[in-house]
Symmetry: C2
Subunit: 478 residues, 2 copies
């Protein structure tokens, strides 16, 4: 019997008073028993019916904006501005899927006739089956209960079971209620959308192993994602897991950038590193900068921008603890200089830090290649193209890779080639944060950035993660 | 040091004299070292360049038809007629991919402009990287060295490394030479196509674990496919495995079929069960027939057709041994009647067998649900729709499911619904053998029929197994 758990208010630095309890075994069984029938029913719904459901979710969420915002701010410590951005993105994503369904963006069926054999074959796209969605800590809306995974799975015709992130169960519960209100308004059966709570990993693991679950969408840590992948592949019937597990997002600064642009780029990068305490999967975490005067002037501009950036609370105490731990790990490497905000802590602020080292040291310490979640970036100076190439080559799979340059050169093209082996999205002369929810977005990357490089977690094509195909072949017998 | 191995001639019932040796560790290392560069080069080739390569493979194979045929017959025991069918299918598949590349069937890139932000994003499809292909035993051409997996991977821009099936290394080597001849004719680098030999599973396992391999295509047994899936997911960087692992291919006979059609269906099914010793992954292995006079007359018609069918050698002694073993396993269940060809063995003939039981027995013995590879089918009689539904529901994932009926009814639609949860292809009033290499084909199914229900192993869309995506986002800075 759990004693219950609470969420944390980072702005006020206290635990919110509401007590939540993990979904009990009995409750869970009652919910899971509804899944097969609900899947059958939802699978039969027309494409327009799915679009109507998304529209109804959009509508019921919109009505609850104030409540959601209040809860969001209390449970995340994020700013009003950030709420507005994420809120808009969440609603825009729902609308995008609704419109993509209505406009025929998805080719849900194809037919071919073979008259000489009196055969016709119709290939149809079908929902893969009930999808387990595990919300992220850093996007309480856009990658959570009514976020991209849930909405793309619903658009594909799949029932969804969301395990709320323990640190924003309040927000998640309001959003879940909105989805259920929309479901009821359209007379869709219970079981199409299920919301469960847990303060640990047990429930997620149990659901991932449950044969009634047919796919998993996850956004979070490498450890969490890999654990789910292992459970999913050890099942009697293995299922696909789409895990988006973060990334260090290397940034390459090439030589020959004019002083004005150097300053512009430094300012943009500083903001991208520090904004909302750098708690983005696409935050630039490694900066490859040439070891010369030009590079040095960029570093100085970057530091002076960062020094002026606001220090804000992190999402919750665990994330803060991990961030502090990672900074001290990196600071303990003798060949790494680290500099951080000197502000006094009032709570769980994410104090920015910038580390600096040379390429040989970078190549030597694998720990330096890994993501540091928070307002941190590691500057790695390179002597020449050979060193830079080794630095890129040693990296594991990443969500993004950025290149800053002034004049187009063959080497820019080479960087693109090199990065296309390593990352899902290459950004030229811009920062990696700010993922657009559009057709051309690839949010995912080679393992360990994500579990399956063939899919994206963002944009209308993210639906393909949750879709299977069936051919129906008819022989006409006279 | 291996003592070498030989292939078997099923028609003559002897081991062919040629001795082959597994690829040595040194040879393998020399071949693998070429992969990264070859992948880079091949990945840069234009779509037209890839199409030209496929065309050149078609051309060089065509010139060697006689040699390939001779070797094929000696190593498989299959008939001239079967060779011609498989040969045509192999060449047609190459042509289909060539044409699909040239005609723009694949959308290899999409661009979106966001003028207000001075951003454009181009999303491109890229080869996933070098693909390991493990040829099947039952299709020495169409699912082997220049078969669907190899050709779709090459069409996707991936280097391919084929481990020849041990029982047709001679045929495989000629085909590999043709591919390499085509590669040389176009001045493409070595390493784009690699051919290796082994008489066991060691080399396949080693390659599946090698970090230079980025995906696997496999056609064969459940045990083999699942072993590869486990190796692939235990790697430092897990990779996708597309394993097509066979199936029992249930067939449902509904009531109300006229005597003429009953006879027609029985003849077609008999041929589908026995043709080429039933060595097809889509062979109908379980027949659900109603327990009444109509069903009985169908069973009699089926048996009399099967009794007249030719008994031909199986592909090799192991397959023959397994077939005999499975027949005796099934025959040992007291509630199962089994009847088989009374012909005397001259070698490794696949003697047809038909087993018969009731639904309650079928539900009781899981062994009856599994594929029997060879000219065998299990008739399961059902009393009513409830029994039939339990029979379908107890099955694991299948490649195909067929329904025979005369009048369309609601229950036909219900069967389609039920089967669409279980199978990749539903066939109405026809046999499941005879997979068409077309856009609308879904060859694959829920696990364990295949490893990933989201992909097909046949048709132009099988390329998507071996493709990843990269977005290139450009910011225009004035």
């Amino acid at each position: 019997m759990s004693s219950g758990f609470r969420t944390f208010n980072p702005s006020q630095n206290y635990w919110n008073p509401e007590v939540y309890f993990p979904t009990s075994k009995e409750e869970l069984d009652q919910k899971l028993i509804l899944l097969p029938f609900a899947q059958l029913e939802y699978g039969r719904l027309s494409i327009q019916g799915r679009a109507d459901f998304l529209q109804a979710i959009h509508h019921s969420l919109s009505k609850e904006k104030n409540n959601i915002q209040k809860s969001y701010l209390r449970e995340s410590g994020l700013s009003d501005l950030r709420f507005e951005t994420e809120w808009k993105r969440t609603l825009d994503t729902i609308e995008l899927f609704e419109n993509s369904l209505r406009s025929g963006y998805y080719m849900f069926e194809k037919t071919q006739d073979f008259p000489s054999e009196a055969i016709s074959i119709r290939k149809i796209a079908c929902p893969i089956g009930p999808v387990l969605v595990l919300g992220s800590s850093n996007f309480p809306l856009a990658y959570s209960t009514a976020g991209g995974d849930t909405i793309s799975a619903l658009a594909a015709g799949c029932c969804v079971i969301v395990k709320a992130h323990a640190m924003h169960v309040g927000t998640s519960s309001i959003v879940a209620d909105c989805i259920n209100e929309a479901r009821e308004a359209l007379n869709l059966p219970e079981g199409i959308f299920t919301h469960v709570l847990d303060d640990g990993i047990q429930l997620a693991q149990q659901l991932c192993a449950d044969e009634r679950i047919h796919a998993v969408g996850f956004t979070g840590s490498f450890r969490g994602g890999k654990a789910l992948m292992d459970i999913a592949s050890a099942r009697k019937n293995p299922i696909p897991v789409f895990a988006e597990m973060g990334s260090a997002n290397p940034v390459i600064l090439l030589h020959g950038i004019s002083p004005e642009k150097r300053k512009l780029f430094a300012e943009k990068l500083a903001l991208s590193i520090c904004n909302d305490a750098g708690q983005f999967c696409t935050k630039p975490g490694i900066l490859f900068v040439q070891a010369n005067e030009e590079g040095q002037s960029f570093i100085e501009a970057l530091k002076s921008s960062i020094e002026n950036s606001a220090v804000v609370p992190m999402l919750h105490p665990d994330i803060h603890r991990n961030f502090e731990h990672r900074k001290s790990e990196i600071g303990s490497i003798p060949e790494v200089k680290i500099q951080q905000s000197a502000l006094e802590y009032k709570g769980i602020e994410g104090k920015w830090a910038i580390a600096e080292t040379t390429m040989p040291t970078f190549l030597q310490y694998p720990n330096l290649h890994e993501e540091v979640f928070g307002p941190f970036s590691l500057i790695v100076t390179y002597q020449d193209i050979t060193e830079l190439t080794s630095g890129i080559s040693i990296l594991s799979g990443q969500l993004t890779g950025s290149v800053f340059y002034e004049e187009k050169s063959n080497f820019v093209e080479e960087c693109i080639q090199l990065l296309s082996q390593k990352v899902g999205r290459i950004i030229l002369n811009d920062v990696p944060t700010g993922v657009r929810v559009v057709e051309t977005m690839q949010h995912g990357g080679p393992f360990p950035a994500s579990s399956d490089v063939r899919f994206t977690a963002v944009g209308p094509d993210s639906l393909f993660r949750f879709q299977k195909y069936v051919s129906i072949q008819r022989k006409n017998i006279p």
